[in-house]
Symmetry: C2
Subunit: 552 residues, 2 copies
């Protein structure tokens, strides 16, 4: 038997687009002699559809796509994910299902039992868990259909569910596991996925065909990396990361044993590739082509710019250089150097006229009160307004350049440098931004495919917002080397103050950093969506009270 895995880039709610892509893959697989083709979880509507699922009309359209796939299943089995209405009045109204279609009919279906409801996942919001488990018989094989999380209770120190769907199917003696996933990327995910698949293959002693989505849906990036694992626990094949693909596997070969055919999983390279795809799909799926951003001469905007140029092309990235009263000489020269290295359009728009106008307008109210954060924020907000104005006039999307360290401690101006449709680096700590810069400088980027696109001086100089004379980030924040480690253990690790002090961090520093994180929830509430590359990103995956009074 030949099994095809289709690793596709779906678009949430774009039923026509998704269906067309799937039908093309069916034809392609058929031409390659496949007996069966497998698509991902909720493939017909894209993942995550979120509250679109609450609309009857949306479910109707999902079912129409399943009908169309059914029609295409003559001579080839098709497995695809879609929501199903729950016929029982008690319980949630929907199931998250895998449909098995063949010869124009649905010959089997399995609902998902383990419904991830943590981090960015909200599945129990919509779906009733499966209580019936049964493999589907196809061409002499018993195929255990599972959906994403269904296999994640195995090989897990802290299992979140009290059952294992594959345990329930054991009495029927399945000989193949199929898993339809929509498993979002973070830099550790490919490794964890492999561990979980291996634990399942070891436990049940049969091969697994695991097919994932690829492509970005706003903040969530799906990395692909679909896997076929032989019963010996070796990888038979791992499909590419961050690209669509269709591959056909001969079951007999898979059963003979794997080949440890894995791809490298280097963290910074993965983050880089994820961010490029995240930018590209955000624009592509919204129907935009052109990005704008402000270049300050600093590292964050330089890295964001380089990534945007890779994602959209030099022709589609435009930057503004907006010197202010406290800008250093190098801020302009470093920014200009980057723009010229990349070969992108840049304009210098000084903020001084608007800055003076604001100060004049406010003079009657402010009197002789001293310069403070107010005037710093005015500068940042003028820049935000200028960028938005150019974006409005010419049809760009503004890219936000804040990094995760800044977002964490609130070191940024709401409606100023926090403006933007998409936050590119909001899940990348400052220390990781430097690593990304070095990685980017090793690649040929921009109009001239030049290496070393980011000026050395942008990497080497001490970080500064340049909103008052001789300002440095280190005036108001701990050194990033220390700050980032505290933030990582607090945000990703969920360690409390006592545990952090036990790890050796200074008690006053811990209290100060945790307080900054917690009192700045109100700013993050209004931040742009953040491309998620870590296991715990700001946004949907981290839900914190704003008026809470805890460690604050």
């Amino acid at each position: 038997m030949k099994i095809a895995l289709a690793q596709l880039n779906y678009h949430i709610g774009n039923f026509e687009g998704n269906l067309q892509k799937m039908l093309e893959a069916v034809e392609n697989a058929r031409r390659q002699g496949a007996d069966l083709i497998c698509f991902g979880e909720l493939a017909v509507c894209g993942y995550p559809p979120r509250d679109f699922l609450e609309f009857d009309d949306f479910i109707r359209r999902c079912q129409a796509s399943i009908q169309a796939l059914c029609q295409a299943s003559h001579g080839i089995g098709i497995v695809a994910g879609a929501p199903t209405r729950n016929p029982v009045v008690e319980g949630k109204d929907l199931y998250n299902s895998a449909y098995f279609m063949y010869e124009g009919a649905v010959i089997g279906a399995q609902h998902k039992a383990l419904l991830p409801t943590y981090d960015i996942f909200d599945e129990y919001r919509y779906f009733e868990p499966a209580r019936v488990f049964r493999p589907v018989e196809f061409k002499g094989h018993k195929i255990a259909l599972t959906i994403c999380e269904d296999i994640w209770n195995v090989g897990n120190d802290n299992p979140l569910y009290t059952i294992c769907p594959l345990d329930e199917m054991r009495p029927y003696r399945p000989d193949i596991i199929l898993n339809l996933s929509a498993s979002p990327f973070h830099y550790g995910q490919a490794r964890e996925r492999l561990h979980v698949i291996r634990a399942n293959v070891a436990r049940y002693g049969i091969p697994m065909f695991y097919v994932n989505h690829v492509g970005a849906q706003t903040d969530l990036i799906f990395d692909g990396g679909s896997i076929v694992m032989s019963p010996d626990g070796q990888v038979f094949d791992e499909m590419p990361y961050f690209q669509e693909g269709l591959r056909v596997y001969d079951l007999a070969e898979v059963l003979r044993g794997g080949q440890q055919r894995e791809q490298p999983k280097e963290k910074i390279a993965l983050i880089h590739d994820a961010l490029v795809l995240g930018i590209r799909d955000y624009f592509g799926k919204l129907g935009f082509r052109k990005a704008i951003l402000g270049l300050s001469g600093g590292i964050d905007s330089a890295v964001t710019c380089a990534l945007a140029v890779e994602a959209l092309g030099a022709d589609n990235v435009r930057v503004l250089l907006m010197p202010g009263p406290f800008s250093s000489e190098h801020s302009l020269t470093d920014a200009r150097q980057l723009a010229e290295n990349a070969g992108i359009q840049y304009d210098v728009v000084p903020i001084s006229g608007a800055y003076d106008a604001f100060l004049n307008a406010l003079k009657p109210l402010f009197g002789d009160r001293p310069f403070d954060v107010t005037e710093e924020n005015i500068q940042a907000r003028i820049r935000g307004t200028l960028l938005m104005a150019v974006s409005n006039k010419f049809g760009h999307i503004l890219l936000n350049t804040s990094n995760k360290s800044e977002m964490a401690v609130g070191y940024g101006t709401l409606y100023g440098d926090m403006c933007g449709g998409l936050s590119v680096l909001g899940d990348v700590y400052k220390t990781e931004v430097y690593a990304l810069a070095h990685h980017l400088n090793s690649l040929p980027i921009g109009r001239y495919a030049r290496r070393g696109i980011i000026p050395e001086n942008s990497i080497r100089k001490p970080p500064s917002a340049e909103l008052r004379p001789n300002q440095k980030d280190s005036d108001s924040l701990p050194e990033y080397e220390v700050l980032d480690r505290v933030l990582f253990h607090y945000i990703e690790g969920r360690r409390g103050p006592r545990e952090l002090v036990e790890m050796g961090f200074d008690e006053a520093l811990v209290a100060r950093v945790l307080r900054l994180v917690n009192i700045n929830e109100f700013k993050r509430e209004q931040a742009a969506p953040v491309l998620r590359v870590s296991p715990k990103s700001f946004g949907m995956g981290r839900r914190m009270p704003i008026v809470g009074k805890y460690l604050s």
Copy 2:
């Protein structure tokens, strides 16, 4: 037996404050001869604690509060909600529990079984559902402890769960139902709550003591309205809305029958009271006292201003009047009239200087391109920047004045009039804003406790953003009477395009409105938190894809 219900205003994560409040209530109830006092769901930490629950340190502090309440339970039973660690490794790590304490010990505990995971609720994100059900025996009574949603599967046409906790307890023959709730307000909630309590009392034939939270936690407002219902299905008592309270009930009297002692539930009056409490608690719990907002002379900012004056006092509300190049004469006179009616500080800060400065700065880029939405947005963003500047300099929080109709269709400028720490009217449709204005004008408000605070002209004139010559809202939007009805059925009612057309709305209008709602998700993503007063508010309770392509 005498049972006290304590309807308190908790503060999420403020363990010291919550505990002190609860201990005072215990002493108060003891003085009044109560045998038992009941607090709300997760009372020790406040509701909803969200991802604070993922921190061991947070759970430790919850348990310390339970210890302290235990110590206070000599001679009086205390029932209070707190999270409990799940000792079993499989399943979620926590339970959402009701603790029954007496004579220094925990004499019973019941975990919550029905975990709301829809709209603003995320409980299955954190909690394992109860599988064991048993009443607690206390002074000769068998008390069925239930937590909020546990009673909501009864009297419900679309039950979300496959079990009813009180059905499970039936074999033990409980004679009292206690319900610890944290049930957020919307204008229909008090009525629905009564319906559900009555359905339970009818089904089980025993009295119910239902205690709710009161007070606002950012977007969520808890209205109190705790209820004692006699076995005859009549209300024995309903505690006040939007106020803390402690009342002691004699069980023997409750058993004799209810008295239909209900409060009025008029929609606009409830919304009004909810918004005032929502503003007051947002400021109080963040440790702020002073609000600022922009007065345009229009109805939205006028209503927001009047509500702020009620919530914070005339001394604590400051407004800016910011005339621009296209402002009408009446925009200034109407706004000034309101400020004078209310007796609040106001300043006129023209935007023309900053506007000219922006146009000059952008002239080299824009050339002779015609005036468009760019220039409109610049005006709105100058106003946002001025308001934020005054707020930064003097320590105000900026109140956002956008209404739900505007937020729905994206009729507002991101980083402009969408600025603010809290959206007061973001869950109030434009047509409801008018009703609120009339209600407000019937109340004595402001420094001079004057009725008719909002100028008639602000109510009567056609709505306009005044960002270009002779602009009217109706130039780009359907009349609000129609728009609001389509929006209501789409947002609150989750009707799709086909159903809306079947209801009699024009097909092209429906397509246009739904498209506007869906393509403006990116703006709402960055909006201020919205005080929730309807069953479906923008924010946590409505989760929509940004790059989705559905009805868009």
